[in-house]
């Protein structure tokens, strides 16, 4: 397993507003994006362009649920909720 011990936020509340942590830089790539937290030095790969669009959309969206719904269809929602929970656990996004 090459994945470092990623933590998911078990209390991730998809109904509230989230934002990219201000210490995080997103670097677009063909496969998605790199997210780097300058404070913690954590590096996370976002492996789909849809996920990147959702993360960038968090800024304006009233909730994580809304940000997800703007980009992917219903059957993909659980996967992207879980992905955002992972990003919260890795401190890439934080509650607004």
């Amino acid at each position: 397993m090459t994945v470092a011990s990623g933590v998911t936020d078990p209390h991730f509340d998809v109904g509230r507003a989230w934002r990219l942590d201000p210490q995080v830089a997103l670097r677009d790539e063909e496969f998605g994006a790199l997210a780097y937290h300058y404070g913690t030095r954590r590096l996370v790969f976002l492996k789909s362009r849809d996920l990147v669009e959702i993360v960038r959309g968090l800024e304006e969206a009233p909730s994580a649920r809304a940000a997800i719904g703007q980009v992917v269809d219903d059957e993909s929602v659980p996967a992207y909720e879980a992905a955002l929970a992972r990003l919260a656990g890795s401190e890439i996004i934080r509650a607004a």
């Binding site: 998911t8 992905a83 929970a85 992972r86």
Partner: protein, 39 residues
């Protein structure tokens, strides 16, 4: 099923298929020190 895996029910040609979608497909964390060729 661990906390990083989500079960999604998908309907294909009328038959219900449970598709395991793990968010490891979407998010992967690697140490900034995890790339060879750096001292």
């Amino acid at each position: 099923m661990n906390e990083n895996t989500t079960a999604v029910d998908a309907t294909v040609d009328g038959a219900e298929t449970e598709v395991l979608v793990t968010d490891d497909l979407l998010v992967e964390e690697v140490s900034i020190d995890g790339m060879c060729g750096v001292y």
